[in-house]
């Protein structure tokens, strides 16, 4: 009984020993051969689009900041002039 079990176990352990090397599908071969083209295309197109998008984003950011700075400077100088005027007119009255 024990030797039958041992034989069975040995049989299972060696069952994949004489395995044939499998050819794989042509679809996989195509996928493998396209790797260089796909890798190269990926590195050319995606960065260009990213570069344009990033450049446009930066330009927009700079423009918004310039407008905002200019507007706040104008407002600040108007407020300061009004303050000085009221102060000096008060001094004149004295």
């Amino acid at each position: 009984m024990s030797s039958r079990k041992d034989n069975w176990i040995e049989g299972v352990l060696s069952s994949a020993d004489r395995k044939n090397e499998l050819p794989f599908s042509n679809a996989l071969l195509d996928r493998l051969k396209k790797i260089p083209a796909e890798v190269n295309v990926g590195s050319l197109i995606i960065p260009m689009r990213s570069v344009y998008l990033a450049a446009a984003g930066f330009a927009l950011l700079i423009a918004v900041n310039l407008f905002a700075t200019k507007g706040s400077q104008q407002k600040e100088s108007t407020e300061k002039t009004a303050l000085y005027n009221s102060y000096f007119s008060y001094l004149d009255q004295l």
């Binding site: 352990l13 994949a16 090397e21 071969l29 790797i35 260089p36």
Partner: protein, 191 residues
């Protein structure tokens, strides 16, 4: 520097597509078979093979020639397969549908039929593949590379980045554990 098993390594390094196609012709079948043996799933094996060759194409410049090119390829393939196995294990562990009982020996359901195994051995081989899934990762890899893919000890050691004595010890423990698992299966199903 090791005498290499692929002539056009310089062509590969310079990104020559013909050299890459030669590499595919020379090694793709072996890499695919290795992935199939380790992952026991045809589509996963195909995806892993594609990822191996993409990694090779992108990083061949870093290959220093300290080992054979085939050993370096096997190492990449083993790492990729380990990633797949870990992903699968995580999915199983968190899957709602898989009960804890499924990991018990009694619940074995040998399901993977390796297409390369001879017809007369198919049934036994599917039991072996089911048993292999229950081994610790390193033992499973060592056994698959040596016993199923037929790699010599030194190539197994190179592919797994371990010493020769570690390979011997891993294979010894793998066989011991497989025997125990198969004994349990025999008692339940074959007697």
């Amino acid at each position: 520097m090791v005498l290499n098993d692929f002539e056009d390594i310089e062509g590969l390094r310079s990104g020559d597509q013909r050299a890459f196609h030669k590499l595919i012709d020379a090694f793709s079948s072996r890499i695919y078979n290795l992935c199939l043996g380790m992952l026991q799933h045809q589509e996963d094996a195909e995806d892993a093979t594609q990822e191996v060759f993409t990694t090779v194409y992108l990083s061949v410049k870093e290959f220093k020639g300290e080992s054979k090119l085939s050993t370096w390829l096997y190492r990449i393939a083993v790492n990729k397969c380990q990633e797949y196995i870990r992903k699968k294990t995580r999915k199983k562990r968190f899957g709602w549908m898989v009960s804890i009982e499924n990991s018990e020996l009694a619940q074995w359901s040998p399901s993977f039929q390796h297409p390369g195994v001879e017809l007369e051995n198919k049934e036994r081989a599917s039991i072996l593949f089911a048993a292999l899934e229950r081994l610790p990762e390193n033992q499973r890899i060592a056994f698959t590379l040596h016993k199923i893919e037929g790699l010599p000890y030194d190539e197994v050691a190179g592919a797994m980045s371990v010493s020769l004595s570690s390979v011997e010890s891993l294979l010894f423990r793998a066989k011991q554990n497989l025997k125990k698992l198969l004994e349990g299966y025999y008692e339940k199903n074959e007697r």
